[in-house]
Symmetry: D2
Subunit: 144 residues, 4 copies
């Protein structure tokens, strides 16, 4: 059984485009925030802490696949349901459903990695999934 966290978004005027609907890059802003929110609800420390202890500077995307079902507009309250579907050795699969009440607005599946600064020059490199973080999430799921 997978733990699902919920991240809430109030859609603002400036999130919308001249067609009066959410401009889609803003959905990705919110999915990114929901991704981090998932880990925080599992008890993973703030990212400046895991940067200092584990060298993690972020959780960048490897790929993302998103299906847009309905539009949203300002004044809407959206609930982003987020979980981790699969842990791999050097990556993890995170899934999202954005809902307005019962209505599905979009569904997304991402592959992300835990990234560290390269030592041999600029740029980033993928770390093995830190066992401390995976354990926190799986323990939380076991309790859920």
């Amino acid at each position: 059984m997978s733990h699902t966290a919920v991240y809430t978004v109030n859609v603002e005027f400036g999130d919308c485009d001249p067609a009066g609907i959410v401009w889609f890059p803003n959905f990705f802003r919110w999915l990114d925030a929901a991704s981090r929110h998932y880990f925080i609800t599992c008890g993973v420390p703030r990212w400046e802490t895991t940067r200092d202890s584990l060298g993690i500077i972020g959780t960048p995307l490897v790929n993302t696949q998103t299906r847009f079902v309905q539009s949203a507009t300002y004044g809407d309250t959206l609930a982003i349901h987020v979980s981790v579907r699969e842990w791999r050795r050097k990556s993890f699969v995170q899934t999202y459903e954005v809902r307005r009440g019962e209505a599905l607005i979009l569904a997304c599946e991402e592959v992300r990695v835990f990234a560290a600064q390269r030592e041999d020059g600029p740029g980033i490199r993928a770390l093995p999934v830190p066992s401390e973080i995976r354990a926190l999430c799986e323990n939380f799921e076991a309790l859920a």
Copy 2:
């Protein structure tokens, strides 16, 4: 043979996150601009014109699939190569490659629709692909 337009982006400081790399939602901002740039290079009029003549208020996404290959950072110049892979009756498939010199940064495939305001309430609805717009793009491709 498909016409490919190129949209150029200069990555700015504020496009990057605390890890010092482009925060991924910004890539989607640029892909959206590249999508419109494609149509403009084919001779399609500005969107306020097609709104007045054809009722089009935008070209929202139905789905998108993106593969992130390398990170980018401020000071980089990125070339977004964009084309239309397929015209369907009510949608079209648009593809993108983002490159820094020869290096591939990301590849994306989207399905989009031409959208009009609903007449029976708020929200949008997909229009059949306007034959005028498709003809402009296909004629341009024939010349390319």
Copy 3:
């Protein structure tokens, strides 16, 4: 006595720049949301309603003056205290304090107008401040 509304912001990773602090244009995103929040707390209807009834398409800025006192970073919770300091015939003065706990992060004063679409071409024009909206805010302030 002026009514003060409070709009809460959770600072996300992607709101911060390579220096690890909030990139300042994001503060303006939040001030704009706080501006609308003020009117909503006073009972002013959603903007699509006032667009249909009063022709208002937004409340654009005439000018803004902002003092940045301390930086903020991800994980911070910010409280934006917003009020209307002065009503003029065709504009109003809105003021903001952004706080993290007791600490002042920034202070801002804006002049805004209620805007309608021009009838004689593209662009916008300032409306006289709608008496209905001013009355809702002043009644709310009288009760506060």
Copy 4:
């Protein structure tokens, strides 16, 4: 005589709000890019270089004052004229005019600092204006 650099912006669909005009926080995104562009035109190295050599992690704002004169919309090309009006010991005054052809869209005056990471904890601190950077800009101005 002050050197003026020009930074060009093409306004995109997604930069505009439901009123069909540029949503004002986007102007600040562009002013920030123009600020950096000014230094680059004067021969100041890329920011990762000055971070490594001088400890500079950014040039955050102390205050900003902006006057919005006309709206802009997608399809517009804007020229941002930027210069440094005054060098102070620990800050500098940067001014901007955003123009569409001859028309003035907005005028802005900012006070910024060169910032370093604090040594005694999180947060940033203002550095004295680096003499190397000031000299590059003033030499460039002398030639202009």
